[in-house]
């Protein structure tokens, strides 16, 4: 009797879970499906009424244009620039913020955590407001229209943010784990590398993803600070598919699909670490 109710409960739970999983997948896929259709179909078919969900004429012409064509030149440079800026700004801020987060978490002074909120203040400013001060600063050090300049700007808001995120995650790690190692005489850096990082892996991965995607998507600074193929990033290159009076919606859709791929590839690579962490049993030791 008890057993059957246990199974019923379990089956109900499974139905419940799958119902929501399907709902989730549908809600994500539906608009994305439309984006992909838009990137393949002719504009004439996209504005038809009644609308056909799978237009009759689909072709890869826009992707060919993006990867091989004339209009895609800027886009291809931008793809490279975006990857570099995201990697550069995320990796620098990550190292800085990991150290900062660890020290803030383990040696909490009374006012030290408040420093963090002050540092976040710039991120709270509308970018438009501080844009010009930053532009003039970059101009003085000759970093306008370079990926270095853009990366520095991104670091300036990524570092406080990542510090804060990582501190949050490190705070949840019980201190007891480290104490054993301290007695063994390991120094702080070693503890950070050997004990804290493995335990905090899910949080670290989340932080890295966040950093990469924040710089991947940033638009306004990039729009003003960069202007040639040397340094423009993807959002800027995609925005340039608009003309004076018309919008090349199909190209923007194709550009969007391609632009979404690198972060997804990164996510696939990092996926396993997101699941691992404590479940892999690193705490046992």
């Amino acid at each position: 009797m008890r057993r059957s109710s246990y199974y019923r409960h379990k089956i109900l739970k499974l139905i419940f879970i799958y119902f929501f999983v399907i709902l989730l997948i549908a809600s994500i896929i539906a608009p994305f499906f439309w984006l992909i259709v838009s990137s393949l179909a002719s504009l004439k078919d996209l504005v038809a009424k009644p609308l056909h969900w799978i237009p009759r004429h689909l072709n890869l012409e826009r992707y060919r244009e993006i990867f091989l064509g004339q209009i895609g030149i800027s886009f291809r440079y931008a793809l490279r620039n975006s990857i570099l800026v995201a990697l550069l700004s995320t990796s620098v801020s990550f190292v800085l913020s990991l150290l900062a987060a660890y020290s803030l978490s383990r040696f909490p002074g009374k006012y030290r955590s408040n420093i963090l909120y002050v540092m976040l203040a710039t991120y709270m400013m509308p970018p438009v407001a501080i844009l010009l001060s930053l532009y003039i600063m970059l101009r003085q050090i000759h970093l306008v229209n370079t990926i270095w300049g853009l990366s520095i700007v991104y670091c300036s808001f990524l570092t406080p943010f990542l510090t804060w995120i990582l501190k949050g995650f490190i705070d949840t790690i019980p201190k007891e784990i480290e104490e054993a190692a301290t007695i063994d005489g390991a120094n702080r850096i070693l503890i950070l590398l050997r004990i804290v990082i493995p335990v905090a892996i899910p949080g670290i991965i989340a932080a890295v993803l966040l950093g990469v995607l924040m710089s991947w998507d940033e638009f306004f600074y990039a729009l003003i600070f960069t202007s040639t193929n040397k340094a423009i990033t993807l959002p800027v290159a995609i925005a340039q598919f608009t003309k004076r009076h018309s919008i090349d919606y199909g190209m923007m859709a194709a550009g969007g699909v391609v632009a979404a791929l690198p972060p997804i590839i990164l996510a696939v690579l990092l996926q396993r670490y997101l699941i691992q962490g404590l479940t892999s049993g690193s705490v046992k030791g």
Binding site: V47, L79, L87, Y135, I224, R244, H245, Y273
Partner: protein, 432 residues
Amino acid sequence: MNYRKNLFFSILLAMIITGISFAGGTKESTSGQKEKQPVKLSALFMKQASYSEQDVRNMTAEFEKENPLIGISLEFVSYEALHDKIIAAAASGSGYDVILIDVIWPAEFATQGILRDITKEIPKSMIDKVFSGAWDTVLYKDRYYGIPWILDTEYLFYNKEMLKKAGISAPPKTLNDLADQAKIIKNKGIVKYPIIWAWQQSENVFLNYVVLVAGFGGSFFDDNGNPLFNSGGGLKALQYMVQSLKDGVSNPASLQAISDDELRVFGSEQAAFALNWTYMYNIANTDSSQSKVVGQVGVEPTPGDGVNVQIASVNGSMGLGITQSSKNPKEALKYIEYLTSSSVEAKYANLSLPMWKSYYEDPSKWPKGQKPLINAAQLSFAKLYNRPMLAHYTQFSTIMQKYLQKALLNQMSPKDALDAAAKEVVQEKANK
């Protein structure tokens, strides 16, 4: 420790990928440079204006071939970013030598000291050979701040088939004709909303309003700068817009539409009329991948009220200017003179119609299939009506956009909306 190894490899992989793309990229960026040039100019253009980036690069290469002592580095941005880029560069104290400007900017840029006054450098003979309305693109207080480059105005486009089906023999000759024909088309059930406009709360709605103000013979300010648009032609224009929505002849979607939406609606047989720029003609009439109305598109100058005004036309041109901060204004002038010359403009005439009157006198030079458009252009360019040339144009336009939309959404009557706008415009001016 297995995952750490994997992590290492994924990072390595990422580095290799970026390394490859980096190496691929640097090659081309250095080849474009010309290092031995004594004079180096930098110019800011717009990506995909009427001319594409490649067209401008080709023109520039030709110029550099003729003038080996001048080298020009080009930057291309989207229209949306063009103004902000110029402003940001000016605010930081230096920047470009040559800039592409929209017709509504010279007043602002001249007042701010961004643009150089080149009145003395422009020969009188050249001034006469170009449509006088085109010169307004670069004029402010009788001084010339550049040379017009891409001429454009809004025409009335119509669907020939739909007019034929409705038994209408000729396109509208007046704005009232337009409303009447639209009603006939609607009543015959040919299309639900016969007219599509671009009335989004942005420069779009104001532009469409200006065309109608021109059509009803209105003006914006008197000589002392007092608002006039809240009576006469200015009021009639807004009343016309509101009424056409009430009658159901204008598509309510116009309120969030930009020019591109007009093209899509018109191109998918969901409108009989549209007020739009030059570019729409060739896309709607010839590009079967974007349009269902290929071969059915008619184009005429936008009509006026038929009493005082026969043709309503708004100046939507652009121009090339030289910045105050440029260290080589002579070379910069040479460059913009080249780009705007009649031979270069004629060569690229299928992309943007020349500003030189002579071009329109010789139909044998016209590209194939462009006759209706060029005929309409010739009539319209002679009557270009300008948006008010104000140093604080953006403030003015922003206020107008807000109140135009309030009237179109029936939050206010046209009269109240324009009165309120006039009041706010005066206040803002006092505010500076």
